[in-house]
C-alpha cells in the first residue's frame, strides 16, 4: 500500500517535471521553427509578390503587397527575355541527356549487376571515382575538348557532359536495385527463348521502374538547372538554356525590377509545379541520389 502510493507519487512528479520541461522545450522549438520558417519562406514570398510590382511600387512598398497586381510583367518578360527559345533549349538538352542516361545507365547497370566477368570490380571502381571528381574542375579542359571536336555552341556540348556526369549516380542507384532481383528472372526468360536484348527491354527495364524514376528526377533536375556548363559551352543566343538566359537577361535589364523578377518566376515555375506534384518521390530520389552519390 505504502509502496504503491510512493510509486504513484514519484510517477506523478516525474511527469510533472517532464511536462514543465516539455513546455519550455516546445517554446524553444517553436521559436526556432518560426525564425527558420520565416527565413525559408520569405525569399519565395518576396520573389512572387515583387514580380507583380511596378518599379515605383518596388521602391515605395518593399515589404507590402503590390498596389496593383501587374500581370503584364509576365507577358512582357516572356517576350523580351525570349523565354520560349530558352524553354525549348532547356527541354531539348534535359530530355536528350535524360534519355541517354536512362538507356546507357540501365544497360551498364544490368551488365554490372547480373553478369560475371573479369574487370567487373575495376569498371565499378572507375565509375565510383567519378563521383568524387568536382564537376567544375572539368570546365576548362572540357571547353578545350569541345572546341577541338567543334561541339561548342551545339546541343551536344551540353547533352554529352550532362549524361557523363549523371552516369555514375545512375549506375549506382540502378545496379543496387537490379542486384536485389532473384536469379530466376534470367532463367525463366532463357526458357522462353528471349535473347539478352529481349530480357533487357521486356523484363529488366519494366522491373526497374522505381529506380529509373529516381534517376529521372536526379538527371532531369541537374540538366534543367545547370548553369556552369551552359555558361562555358554556349555563347549563341539561340541555344541558351533557361538559367543562362535568365542570368544574361538580368544583366541587361538590371533596373526594370518587375520584369526581371517576372522572368525569374516564370523560369522556376515548371520545376516548382513538378515538385509540388511529385513531392515525396523528388525528396526521396534526391536524398537517395545524394547519399549514394
Amino acid at each position: 500500500m505504502m509502496n504503491q502510493t510512493a510509486a504513484a507519487g514519484s510517477h506523478r512528479q516525474v511527469s510533472g517535471i517532464s511536462g514543465l520541461m516539455g513546455r519550455s522545450k516546445s517554446i524553444i522549438f517553436w521559436t526556432i521553427l518560426m525564425v527558420y520558417g520565416i527565413f525559408t519562406l520569405y525569399p519565395f514570398f518576396w520573389l512572387i509578390v515583387s514580380a507583380f510590382k511596378t518599379n515605383e511600387d518596388f521602391y515605395s512598398h518593399p515589404f507590402g503587397l503590390p498596389a496593383q497586381w501587374n500581370i503584364a510583367n509576365f507577358s512582357r518578360a516572356w517576350e523580351t527575355a525570349k523565354l520560349d527559345t530558352a524553354f525549348a533549349n532547356s527541354l531539348i538538352v534535359s530530355i536528350g541527356s535524360l534519355i541517354l542516361t536512362l538507356f546507357i545507365g540501365a544497360l551498364a547497370s544490368f551488365i554490372l549487376a547480373r553478369f560475371q566477368f573479369r574487370l567487373k570490380g575495376a569498371v565499378f571502381a572507375f565509375f565510383v571515382v567519378g563521383m568524387l571528381i568536382p564537376i567544375h574542375s572539368t570546365l576548362v579542359p572540357l571547353f578545350i575538348l569541345m572546341k577541338q571536336i567543334s561541339l561548342l555552341n551545339t546541343y551536344w556540348a551540353l547533352i554529352l557532359p550532362y549524361t557523363a556526369f549523371a552516369l555514375p549516380t545512375a549506375i549506382f542507384v540502378l545496379s543496387a536495385y537490379l542486384m536485389s532481383f532473384p536469379k530466376e528472372i534470367e532463367e525463366a526468360s532463357f526458357i522462353d527463348g528471349t535473347g539478352l536484348w529481349g530480357l533487357f527491354f521486356r523484363i529488366i527495364l519494366p522491373m526497374s521502374l522505381p529506380a529509373l524514376s529516381t534517376v529521372t528526377i536526379l538527371s532531369f533536375l541537374h540538366a534543367w538547372n545547370d548553369f556552369s556548363f551552359a555558361l562555358v559551352f554556349i555563347s549563341k543566343t539561340s541555344l541558351k538554356t533557361l538559367p543562362l538566359s535568365i542570368a544574361n537577361f538580368s544583366d541587361g535589364y538590371q533596373t526594370d525590377y518587375g520584369l526581371t523578377l517576372a522572368a525569374m518566376v516564370l523560369s522556376v515555375l515548371p520545376t516548382i509545379i513538378l515538385y509540388l506534384v511529385f513531392q515525396e518521390q523528388v525528396m526521396k530520389g534526391m536524398t537517395a541520389g545524394a547519399v549514394k552519390g
Partner: protein, 291 residues
C-alpha cells in the same frame, strides 16, 4: 545462350557508358593536369613551361585566398547546415500538415536553379533597394546597414546564408528519414532508463544515426566545392577577388585573363584538394565513431 554471345553483350553494353563517361569526365581531368605544364592563351601555340604554373600557384596569394574561402564554405556547411538540419529534423518529426508544409518549403530550393536563388539573394542584399537594409531601417538599426556584397571584408560571409538556405532541405530529409528508421522499442527502452529530450538525442539517437551524419559531412564538403554558380551569379568572385572560390578563380584565370594553362593547373589542384578533403573527412569521422 552461349558464353561467346554473352561476352559480346557485356562488351557492347558497357561500351557507351564507359565511352561517354571516360571521354567527358575522366579524360578532362587527365588533360587538365597535362595542360597545366603549358603557357597557353587558348589560341595559337602552346609553350611548354614545366612546373612553372604549379610553382606560381604555390606563391599565388589569390589562390590561397580562394582556398580559404572554400574552407569557410565547408565549415559553414559542416557547422551550420548539419546542426540546423539536425535540429529541424528533431523538431519536425510529426506528420501534421504544418510540419509537412515546412519540410517541403525548406526542401524547395533544392529543385530551383541556383541562378534564380543567387539573384533573389542579390536583391535581398542590394544596398539601395534590398529588403535587408530596408528591414534594418524599419527596426531602427540603420547603423547596421552594410554593402553586404560589395564590402570585401564581409562579402564572403554574406554568401553563407544563401548557401545554407539552399541546401539545408537536403540534410533535413536525410536526417528525418534516418531518425524515423530508429525502431520504436529503442525509444521506449531509453525512456525507461530516463533518457528523454536532448539526453535521448545525444546518447541514443545521434549514435544510431552517426553513419548518416558522416555521410552528410562528406556531402557538405563535396557540395561546398561545387558552389560555383551561387558565387558567380552573386559576386563573380569580387570585389577584387574577395569572394573568389577555387572554381571561380579557375574560371576567371581561364576565360577572363585567357591563361588556359594556369586555369588548367588550378583545376588539377581542385581535384587533388577535394580528394584530400574528402579522404580526411572520412578518416576523421570514422575514427570518431570507433572511439
Amino acid at each position: 545462350m552461349n558464353a561467346m554471345s554473352s561476352r559480346k553483350f557485356v562488351m557492347f553494353g558497357l561500351a557507351p557508358a564507359l565511352l561517354i563517361y571516360g571521354l567527358f569526365v575522366f579524360v578532362p581531368v587527365v588533360w587538365s593536369a597535362y595542360y597545366g605544364f603549358f603557357n597557353w592563351s587558348g589560341f595559337g601555340d602552346k609553350q611548354y613551361i614545366g612546373l612553372a604554373n604549379y610553382t606560381e600557384i604555390i606563391h599565388d596569394s589569390t589562390f590561397w585566398h580562394s582556398l580559404k574561402n572554400n574552407i569557410i564554405f565547408v565549415l559553414a556547411a559542416v557547422f551550420g547546415q548539419v546542426p540546423i538540419a539536425l535540429a529541424l529534423a528533431v523538431i519536425l518529426h510529426k506528420n501534421t500538415w504544418m510540419q509537412r508544409f515546412l519540410r517541403s518549403a525548406i526542401f524547395l530550393p533544392m529543385v530551383m536553379s541556383t541562378v534564380v536563388i543567387g539573384m533573389v539573394w542579390q536583391y535581398i542584399y542590394h544596398p539601395q533597394i534590398g529588403i535587408l537594409n530596408f528591414l534594418l531601417d524599419a527596426v531602427g538599426l540603420s547603423g547596421w546597414k552594410l554593402n553586404w556584397l560589395s564590402d570585401s571584408g564581409i562579402a564572403i560571409y554574406s554568401l553563407v546564408p544563401p548557401l545554407i538556405w539552399s541546401f539545408v532541405g537536403l540534410y533535413l530529409i536525410i536526417f528525418s528519414s534516418a531518425l524515423q528508421n530508429i525502431p520504436g522499442e529503442i525509444h521506449d527502452a531509453a525512456e525507461l532508463d530516463g533518457a528523454i529530450g536532448w539526453r535521448r538525442l545525444a546518447y541514443i539517437s545521434l549514435p544510431i544515426i552517426w553513419t548518416t551524419v558522416q555521410v552528410a559531412i562528406v556531402l557538405c564538403i563535396s557540395g561546398s566545392l561545387k558552389s560555383f554558380d551561387l558565387v558567380y551569379i552573386m559576386t563573380r568572385g569580387g570585389p577584387a577577388h574577395a569572394t573568389e572560390l577555387l572554381a571561380t578563380y579557375m574560371y576567371n584565370s581561364t576565360f577572363t585573363s585567357y591563361r588556359y594553362g594556369y586555369g588548367s593547373a588550378i583545376s588539377t589542384m581542385i581535384v587533388l584538394i577535394s580528394l584530400v578533403l574528402i579522404g580526411t573527412s572520412q578518416w576523421l569521422t570514422s575514427r570518431k565513431s570507433r572511439s
